[in-house]
Symmetry: C2
Subunit: 189 residues, 2 copies
DNA sequence: GAACGTACCTAATAGCTTTAGGCAAATTCC
DNA sequence: GGAATTTGCCTAAAGCTATTAGGTACGTTC
């Protein structure tokens, strides 16, 4: 019999594709085995278990997102950087809904520490350097931006804005305008 | 044999409690049957299937949230209303994490139409009446507020702000200050 | 007290997860 | 090049969840 050439990496990548096709929740070890035309038990030499698979897909998604964000930020500052960064999240969620869901998957502390989460936070801080905030306001703003981006993208992809006017794109643009204005005139206590 | 007295309502309520205890994802027809000390098949006279159970828990959570929000808004306006409303979401998520997750569960169009989703949107608009926005800006602001509240609460309960200073409570207060300031000085295009 | 409806049960099928142990292909070593 | 070893994928099996079909006995109604 010809070997399938399974590796943890190929499995995780295929798992990410599967997530985009059928949804992250539907990613199962069984479905992945079917995709490689291999028996289920064979995957357990490469993956600890089902949770391990999902964690690795989450880590992959976080890395991909951070890479895209880093590209988008290169050479930009101020509102330009803010917009480019925000669009990375929104576009990624649209192109890769399963991966985006994976990126929001709760990670245990070790996985979280090894994740690209820190890069995301650092990039957000880099954007805020274009505005005039100092600690602890910068941290509050980091949290606000994370909340808005995640919240908007998640509500939008759940269909929340689909059946009402105006267009979601218009709201997105205006929300980014508003955030820019807010960061320029951040209220001091 | 003594009958257990199952009804759809009791099952859904128990399912909501179960969600808060073990997480919404772990809510299964089997676990619910165990909780009533009844065979699994018995539940299928009261629930269509597992998805039906989860949908009903989601609808329950949305109603509870809307009820709390309506109470909180009574007699308030302006920033006072904004803060009270926002705290309803945050407090509910802390007290009832499983139900809160359920409330964010994707609903099919019929379920969504029958849900308290419309009440939530109307209440958000009521708050914005305390600020000077007119369409389409009011809708953009509705979407922004929904995004921030959902995003913040979801990142916070995923532990996102747990291991860094300053305290999440402080950021929450400052984020609400910032939103209030933003709504009072909403940028026109 | 008989007849009926219904609440819960047994039984069975099917899918996903995970572990244990086996064979054969690939790799290493002489 | 062939033997020894490693390792990749397999079969088998047990346990859990979901769901359906059909049966029994409880509670209600007349």
């Amino acid at each position: 019999m010809v070997r399938a050439g399974l590796t943890p990496d190929r499995l995780v990548r295929a798992g990410a594709e599967l997530a985009d096709e059928v949804g992250f929740d539907q990613v199962t070890v069984s479905a992945l085995a079917r995709r490689f035309d291999v028996k289920v038990a064979s995957l357990y030499s490469h993956l600890r278990n089902s949770r391990d698979l999902k964690t690795r897909i989450a880590l992959l998604a976080l890395e991909e997102l951070a890479d895209r964000a880093a590209d988008a930020l290169a050479g930009r500052a101020g509102k330009d950087a803010l917009t480019a960064f925000a669009n990375v999240y929104r576009d990624y969620a649209r192109e890769h809904p399963g991966r985006y869901t994976a990126a929001r998957h709760p990670l245990d502390p070790e996985a979280a520490a090894a994740s690209a989460g820190g890069r995301h936070a650092q990039m957000t801080r880099a954007i805020l350097r274009g505005y005039d905030l100092s600690e602890p306001d910068e941290t509050h703003a980091v949290r606000l931006l994370g909340s808005v981006f995640h919240g908007y993208v998640s509500l939008e992809s759940a269909g929340g804005f689909r059946h009402s006017a105006p267009d979601s794109q218009e709201s997105w643009d205006r929300v980014l305008d508003a955030l820019d204005a807010l960061l320029r005139a951040w209220p001091r206590p």
